[in-house]
């Protein structure tokens, strides 16, 4: 049956046998592919880049302090906690689910940290472990409700929002807030600790180098397997742009205090989640369940278990985010996790490019989105705007992000891209 027109001519690469398809090669090809992609509604990082440029132009015009190195360092300190929570939101959004209780979960986490560590005098690692286990347990409950009773996650987590907030108030007791010692490692981590300059520069160069190395290895493997390989020119150009941007960013931050360890830990977790989502069977199953749960089930994927892991990951990330927030504020209070934390984390994930409709997104969207959200919040604070105005503007930004997501989705559907 292989004696057909499709039979590839000798010497042709496996994936280049079909002559009807345009294969973009080299730099101009990559550029053309990118333009096609954006036109069809696959926006990628574009909204974030445009958003950041717009925000920094507006805010630095209104208040030059906005772009000062030390303000940006502060921004990174602030971004880590919400970024971690957004990282969890990416996990549930990928399945087309939602967790509205992440704010309360983070608040509860900071309360537990305060009570166990400060009030009861337990060692910090044990307190953090207890917090993470609590997060995982809450996620298990949500997953169980969703799997066993088909309870829509937005209802289950809305109930959780109130219940967890109640628990937070209960364990904080009548005093309502617990201060954490300023000399403790946790608070120093949240407010002072900065990476040494040499390490920051090393970490700024590493991604570009890894990109080139990975590209070369990939090409080697692909040509060994008789598959076409992407030209190195594209990889090298990308690597150069990335390295220049990162080194400049680090140089600029080093003019102030430098790169916070807190932010570094956040980026490390982004990298780990990114690996898990793109290179493991678990990640592939997450995208499959988000795209077509019934198809995933028929392929033998345990859909219920995947859902459970997503909710557990989300609540656990939210709990860790709560610990980070407590470290940042040096206190656990009744206000922790309330207000705009929920909205900021969800908005960050959506702005970064994770679809609310499931099956599309990446760990990077938490990192990129949280930079946009935190830039807005930081800029508005610098303008001495009251929180009433800040809430309204952040709400508007989330609405815009969702509209962009919906429009892009419609455009992708009409261009035959999922």
């Amino acid at each position: 049956m292989t004696q057909d027109t499709q039979k590839s001519a000798p010497g042709l690469q496996l994936d280049r046998a079909d002559t009807r398809v345009r294969h973009d090669a080299g730099l101009s090809g990559a550029l053309r592919g990118f333009v096609d992609q954006v036109r069809s509604g696959d926006l990628g990082m574009l909204p974030v880049v445009i958003g950041l440029l717009f925000i920094s132009t507006v805010f630095s015009a209104l208040n030059p302090v906005f772009l000062a190195p030390n303000n940006l360092v502060n921004l990174l300190f602030d971004a880590a906690a919400v970024g971690l929570i957004a990282l969890g939101v990416v996990c549930v959004l990928l399945l087309g689910e939602i967790d509205l209780s992440i704010g309360s979960m983070s608040g509860l986490a900071s309360a537990i940290t305060g009570v166990l560590w400060v009030n009861s005098g337990l060692p910090l690692p044990i307190a953090i472990l207890a917090v993470l286990l609590t997060g995982a347990l809450v996620g298990l409950v949500y997953g169980y409700l969703r799997n066993q009773f088909e309870m829509p996650s937005f209802v289950a987590t809305l109930a959780g929002l109130l219940a967890l907030l109640g628990l937070q108030l209960y364990i904080l007791g009548p005093t309502g807030s617990i201060n954490m010692p300023f000399t403790s490692p946790l608070v120093r981590f949240g407010q002072i600790l900065i990476m040494p300059a040499w390490l920051s520069y090393l970490l700024a160069i590493a991604p570009g180098a890894l990109l080139v190395y990975g590209g070369m290895r990939r090409n080697q493997q692909r040509s060994a397997a008789n598959l076409s390989s992407q030209g190195m020119s594209v990889v090298i150009t990308k690597a150069i742009f990335l390295t220049v941007a990162l080194v400049f960013a680090v140089y600029y931050l080093e003019q102030g205090r430098g790169v916070p360890w807190m932010f570094g830990v956040f980026v490390l977790l982004v990298l780990i989640l990114n690996y898990a989502l793109t290179r493991t069977k678990w990640g592939r199953s997450m995208f499959a369940v988000g795209g077509n749960a019934e198809a995933a089930r028929r392929s033998g994927i345990n859909v219920k278990r995947i859902r459970l892991t997503a909710f557990v990951a989300c609540s656990t990330f939210a709990a860790l985010g709560g610990v980070f927030a407590a470290a940042r504020l040096a206190s656990a209070s009744q206000q922790a996790g309330t207000g705009d934390v929920n909205l900021n984390a969800i908005a960050a994930a959506v702005i970064g490019g994770t679809s609310l409709f499931g099956g599309r997104g990446s760990a990077w969207s938490a990192l990129l989105g949280v930079l946009v959200i935190m830039a807005i919040s930081n800029g508005l604070t610098l303008l001495n705007l009251s929180s009433s105005l800040r809430y309204m503007i952040t709400g508007g930004v989330l609405a815009i992000a969702v509209i962009v997501d919906s429009l892009a989705r419609r455009s992708r559907a009409s261009h035959g891209r999922a």
Partner: protein, 268 residues
């Protein structure tokens, strides 16, 4: 594609269904179904819309659980409670709705649930295997790195069939595999069915197209209103099959044929 016959020799029964029934609330979709599939044979399952063919397929694929009856597979009585279990045991299915994830690319869909090295997916090896499989099916897929959403109906069908062959199953069930295919691709699928059979696998083919069915089927099992309505061979006349499917020799198809015959007679 390596279709190794690790199972029973030719002619031995792989699958034996006895008294299978399935109810959806008040509706009886299947009642007392008997079906045997032997190694190295193609069993066609035919019947009108609503005869219960797709329900039977879903029971065998582990998607639905039967309300009564027994399934004997390779001489042992089994329960197929999840799709994963059916796949593991070697019952592969190409569903009528294909069950593909539109947001994933061709390679990801082919290997879904069975990725090579789960903790560090080997994309290169999976892509090579995908191309080999697709070329053996003479498939015209422009790129295996495009999401399924960008493929045509026929291309999606081919991907779904290729996926079912990935795990060297004992039995392959094809629910309307040629409905969306062009002339050449239909022929390729029929060729493929014969080749799978010659390797000693059992094939269950569901089709409305009597031409396709008679071209490849060793036995034709007719379902009518959720019950068995006779077993036929490929030599059976078209009319006999139609009357078995519709339940009477006097039916809309025969009436139409008779009317046409009359009209032709009057014209002369």
């Amino acid at each position: 594609m390596t279709l190794e016959a690790t199972g029973p020799g030719d002619g031995e029964p792989i699958l034996r269904l006895r008294g299978i029934g399935k109810q959806f609330g008040a509706v009886t979709a299947l009642e007392d179904i008997e079906l045997d599939v032997h190694a190295g044979e193609v069993v066609a399952l035919v019947g009108d819309n609503g005869a219960g063919k797709s329900t039977l397929v879903k029971v065998l694929a582990g998607v639905h659980q039967p309300t009564s009856g027994t399934i004997e597979y390779l001489g042992r009585q089994v329960t197929l409670d999840t799709p994963g279990k059916a796949l593991e045991m070697g019952i592969a299915t190409v569903f009528q709705d294909l069950a593909l994830c539109e947001n994933l690319d061709v390679v990801a869909n082919l290997f879904l649930g069975h990725e090579i090295s789960p903790w560090r997916m080997d994309e290169v090896q999976m892509e090579v295997r995908a191309w080999t499989l697709l070329q053996e099916l003479a498939a015209r897929i422009p790129s295996v790195r495009e999401p399924i959403a960008s493929l045509s109906g026929g291309q999606r069908q081919t991907v779904a069939i290729a996926r079912s062959l990935l795990l060297d199953p004992h039995i392959i069930m094809l629910d309307e595999p040629t409905a969306a295919l062009g002339v050449a691709q239909t022929a390729e699928v029929l060729n493929l069915i014969e080749r799978v059979r010659d390797r000693g696998h059992g094939v269950i083919l569901i089709s409305h197209n009597m031409e396709d069915v008679r071209a490849v089927a060793d036995r034709i099992v007719v379902l009518r209103l959720g019950k068995n309505n006779g077993v036929y061979t490929a030599d059976t006349s078209h009319q006999e099959l139609v009357s078995a499917i519709t339940g009477a020799s006097e039916n809309s198809v025969s009436r139409r044929a008779a009317r046409k015959l009359e009209e032709v007679g009057e014209d002369k």
